[in-house]
Symmetry: C2
Amino acid sequence: MSSSSSSLLEMEIFQYIDAHQSDFIKDLKEWVAVESDSVQPHLRKEVMRMMALAADRLAALGATVNLVNLGSHQLPDGQVLPLPSVILGELGKDPQNPTVCFYGHVDVQPAKKEDGWNTDPYTLTEIDGNLYGRGATDNKGPVLAWINAVETFRALKFAMPVNFKFVIEGMEEAGSLGLEKLLEEENQRFFSDVDYIVISDNLWLSNKKPALTYGSRGNACFFVEVECGSKDLHSGTFGGIIHEPLLDLIALLDSLVDSTGHIQIPGIYDSVAALTEEERKLYESIEFELEEHRKNCGVKKFLYDTKEEILLHLWRYPSLSIHGIEGAFHEQGIKTVIPAKVIGKFSIRQVPHMDLSVVKKQVVKHLEGVFSKRNSPNKLKVSMPLGAKPWLADVNDLLYKAARRAIKTVFGEDPDFIRDGSTIPVARMFQTVTQKSVMMLPIGAADDGEHSQNEKISRHNYIEGTKLFAAFFLEISKLHRNLHETSHTEAIN
Amino acid sequence: MSSSSSSLLEMEIFQYIDAHQSDFIKDLKEWVAVESDSVQPHLRKEVMRMMALAADRLAALGATVNLVNLGSHQLPDGQVLPLPSVILGELGKDPQNPTVCFYGHVDVQPAKKEDGWNTDPYTLTEIDGNLYGRGATDNKGPVLAWINAVETFRALKFAMPVNFKFVIEGMEEAGSLGLEKLLEEENQRFFSDVDYIVISDNLWLSNKKPALTYGSRGNACFFVEVECGSKDLHSGTFGGIIHEPLLDLIALLDSLVDSTGHIQIPGIYDSVAALTEEERKLYESIEFELEEHRKNCGVKKFLYDTKEEILLHLWRYPSLSIHGIEGAFHEQGIKTVIPAKVIGKFSIRQVPHMDLSVVKKQVVKHLEGVFSKRNSPNKLKVSMPLGAKPWLADVNDLLYKAARRAIKTVFGEDPDFIRDGSTIPVARMFQTVTQKSVMMLPIGAADDGEHSQNEKISRHNYIEGTKLFAAFFLEISKLHRNLHETSHTEAIN
């Protein structure tokens, strides 16, 4: 923390936060203990329980809390599941204050101890200054840091520098189903007096240096299903005389990307925005430790050698990843089975100006073409169960200036201005629907391992992140009031 | 049942079996209720429990039972598990009688209701004359049918026509680990006075017509492991900049077989025995309903159009099947993960005169060649955790004559003389080690679905199969005594 730039008010706030570290970590431990996995149908009730906990927490702040029912959704297998309600919360209505809306989610990706976790994923465990647990960094930690930053003003009986709104959901890891419709419906109500939207659902680019995020890739998820019949077969009794669905599927999946990472689907790069010389220069100035990033993920070698190429391919070019196969044998040992129905799962990260409906057509046409050459009697079905657009913001916005100052105050250095290779569809969704200024303000470090085994947030990032949010409230309040007064003066002149 | 050829003794035996159907089905229900899955490590204790049940059952027959400890084995992940003991049982020592050794196994393939079973796989359920449950046909049903055939002679207080020996194991579905060594050790002891070996661990070729089996394919199982590091990665944060292990693995798996079912590994067909004109004629005479077989497995179309081509490719040509991938996402829904370590699993069915060590070298060389062209920095590891040789018997043997007569008595028709596309390594193992005459005498029908969802044995096959075994005891006794007397007479002349 760079004390030189901190006000007395800030000092008092930061001291309070430091003194209450154990309470804040206890809060996180309670939240991590809920297996609010929105991907696996049988855990939906845990997501519901998590939403209720979050609503209670906001009510305890003094916020008015509205749980909006979104109805239900149907899974690919026909099962109908209730959607968790979305929390819309409000705290403060001072007309002098800007209104900042915070978005976060409290659902998590699947995690099991046997996936390779060193500790139980649902028991927050501190080891060497890191807090390990599913959701610690994505996204329960940041949501609690924001709430605790607000709580600090309340506890110290300081006037709230901004009016708060909260949008907390429980379906982010499963595609934020129903959220866009809700935003549209609430655009003229809940969002009408919102000035700024802040999302803290991503990571810094490095392990140590803070960052501000102004763009993210979208994602188009695909299911490729190949089926030969209703029952699995024995490879001794049928091996050699049938067209095995898994062989068809593997040929289809193998046709998608070459060994250099280049996507082989015809036309897929046609709409990708051309790289300008000015944009390339922006990348040159970013501090990015290629070797640190490589160590974080554990691979021996990247597909590209320079920082610029790596960042360009992460942020502004599409990529295709294969995630796995449903229906084939996946356990330890051997099962001499010919699976009857297999579903390959892959996704293509979207960048400006790719069009989801065009991408879907290109993928289906390509796969059908490859399949037809195999003369297989099996059934092929290609679907795109989820499609999220990319997002890009204006870094000269007031919101980004305020965040930059707060970062300088708490961390003593300027942030990197970065984009995110991950899909955060809510950023794009909030901007498109509300037309407000949207910013992503991460507090997790690059090595936090979101979606991976041994996900963590460091105690340092969790606590300093809480301070960052508190400092940001003061900065955006100041800048907003200045702008407002200036506008007012101009109006008089 | 063709009563014309049945003796009074047989009639009485068959009546007893008919009258005790419910008891025999109750026995099977008890055995099926034990989840004796030898593939999944955490169920090993259930295999142990099943072995104890089988030992008790043999002891109740009056057999002396010896449980031979085989020690332990190590899994690919380093875990050490105890091997279930093998049961060596003996009943009767009449020097006038032939000694018939029966082999069976009481472990099963993995099964879960959610794999697509209509009933709980571990609750034997009768629907329309079929008994559904894991292990019903493979191999608990046939083992119990044999035991109950022996039990019938005991209950009726008839002299035993043969001396019985039993070899019952609990690791067949996981490669019969330790069994070959045991056979070698016991060859001069337990097997020294064995005349014939009977295995009933396969199926008829049709749903209705009985069969005798004189050969089976072997199997070489392969694991192909590709690894980029120790932890799974997020496809947003790393997609597009790393060599994804699953992409490498899919390219490797896609290089194995073409869309016509032809294996692409160089040299793999070099040692396959050439098809003679005489052998081809043997195939022409077999009764085989192509359309029925197709319906049994549910596929729209086979790779070949004629009965001969289908049987040749099932029985005397190698085939390659891919079973699945360990380590990738395999559940419902979407997980935007880049798996760090994936293990592809496939197997190649072996036929005379392929050599397992040569096949292994060919596979490793081929995969390493494909991998090296990808310039991937990931780690590749190819292993062959299981290799089983093919087996071929002489159909003019006494054993086959006796079984043919018993089939004619019980089912009223001659059997098909068939081979099996499945691997039954014990047949080859028993023949190689003991040099005795080995026969496979199936009682399950073609549509029993071994290793598949909704495995079953029909009530008809289970009960008539019990009669078949009892009739076989009488026939082999008669033929053996005749042969013995003839030899004796010849020796005097």
